[in-house]
Amino acid sequence: MAITFLYPFFWMIMASLTPEKLIGSLTFIPDSFTFNNYLAMFGKIPIGRALLNSMFVSSVITLGVILIGAMVGYALAKTRFMGRNFIFYLIIFTMTLPFQITLIPNYITIVKLGWVDQYTALIIPFLVNNFAILMFRQSFMSVPQALIDAARIDGCSELRIIFQVLFPSIIPTIVTVGILTFMTTWNEVLWPLIVVRDEMVMTMPQLVTLFSVGGRADAQLGVKLASAVLLALPIMIAYSFFQKYFIQSMASSGIK
């Protein structure tokens, strides 16, 4: 059973290293290796640029989601104000809203703002994440009030309380939100396909998708597979280091 889970990855990596003519008959290890598929791919698409774009977009979104999620989550958990419950239910409601409703109008908003082919189109709509807010709210609720009161007596501003005093005690939440946000943003394809047409702004999965369906690979399987390997590599490397956290984060996201 485990083999059926590893074999496709193994086959893909091997095939990307196989000369085009031999891929058809490849089942295990190729008779001869070549890097031509990779060289051909680098010549056809700006994959390096796309990698940097993806890194940039995913990092900014992850940072933003953590900062904004912590601020809103703290306000909902530890401060009292009119409309607090209303906002909490608004967040729950937004989470249950199917994205099919907002997809078209959000595209139109981006067009009207003049953000098509801009990084802002890829980043801004994802900076606020309902799930992250609820995660932070949950973990701030379990932080003792005495810690906050003591910090206030010392004259800390609320922002310093959140990010300096309380952050060290909610590290597991930060890791979970960080991993989930980074992973989903890294793998997102539909939204970039809609708002970006300029190859220099494209994220990596988007570029690989268009390369693979658009006939740019000239029906060359090896080149197509090489681009898929390169797309899978960063997240697989991250996974091999932080496996435990990946699994825990995903599990907690499902349990919510």
Partner: protein, 290 residues
């Protein structure tokens, strides 16, 4: 503590939640209202919007492809959900027993979960190949014929459902494991004293106990089925003969290939409505069952 000025604290929460409110207004409230408004209009973004009354709705009810994409999605769910539950639960029970390399197996099953759907789709497209595909080579070598996984209209959606099961099973294994570990050990001990078989223990103790997890898997898979996009887009383009046209792919085509914004918004509303109805029905049915 009371020394801190009260006034400062009273506006601060609003400042903290202001990014959320801004987001809600721009990317949730406005789009929902505007989308509803769009369903009564004809618009290709460039030329001025035209009021079209109920045209989009009547068009949808008579649109063969709308029904086709809905049927395709339901067909996907009918295959995918049982497969997903059987495999995830089976492997979770296996991993929950006393075996070696438990962590290693878990990591391996989880690998497809973290990798982009694009990668998984490109990979499986090759495995499903008619002549060179590894699956058909295997079937051929044991004497069974070749299957047109992606070329036969009757097989394209089941093929995508199998691939989706493979991709997501790792996540559901983890969720089931969490559920299984919460079942008290003495339930099983009591059943053993009464002479229950493994199947009886599974059917009468395990499944009722992890019913909430099963329900969650069904809901998540349903939402996933209605979100299918990249898989048919990359693998089949919705074909052959629209047999793998998914709901989101159809919205995408109407909006970004034909620029029928009003009609695409109408489809978006219809599918969202259908998802919510299906989830309500599932909730009712499954909660009644136990």
């Amino acid at each position: 503590m009371q020394v801190r000025p009260k006034k400062k604290r009273s506006i601060l929460p609003y400042l903290l939640v202001s990014p959320y409110m801004l987001f809600f207004l721009v990317f949730v409230a406005f789009p929902v209202l505007f989308s509803f408004f769009l369903t009564f209009h004809k618009w290709n973004i460039i030329s001025p919007m035209e009021y079209s009354g109920m045209d989009n709705y009547t068009r949808m009810f008579n649109d063969r492809l709308f029904w086709k994409s809905l049927r395709n999605t339901l067909w996907f769910l009918v295959i995918h959900i049982p497969l997903q539950i059987i495999f995830a639960l089976g492997l979770a029970v296996f991993l929950n027993s006393k075996i070696k390399f438990k962590g290693l197996f878990r990591s391996v099953f989880f690998l497809p979960v973290i990798v982009s759907g694009v990668v998984v789709t490109i990979m499986w497209q090759q495995l499903y190949g008619f002549n060179g595909g590894v699956i058909n080579q295997l079937l051929n070598s044991i004497g069974l014929g070749r299957v047109g996984w992606l070329t036969n209209p009757a097989m394209s959606m089941p093929s995508i459902a199998i691939m989706a099961t493979w991709k997501n099973v790792g996540l559901y294994i983890i969720l089931f494991l969490v559920g299984l570990q919460a079942v008290p050990e003495h339930y099983y001990e009591a059943a053993e004293i009464d002479g229950a078989s493994s199947w009886q223990k599974l059917w009468y103790i395990t499944i009722p106990a992890i019913n909430p997890t099963i329900f969650m898997v069904i809901i998540l898979s349903t939402i996933g089925g209605f979100s299918l996009f990249i898989e048919p887009y990359v693998m089949t383009g919705g074909g052959p003969l629209n047999s793998s046209l998914s709901s989101v792919l159809y919205i995408y085509k109407q909006a970004f290939e034909f620029y029928h914004m009003g009609y695409a918004a109408t489809l978006g509303f219809a599918f969202a409505f259908i998802i919510l109805i299906i989830i309500v029905i599932q909730k009712k049915y499954i909660e009644k069952k136990y």
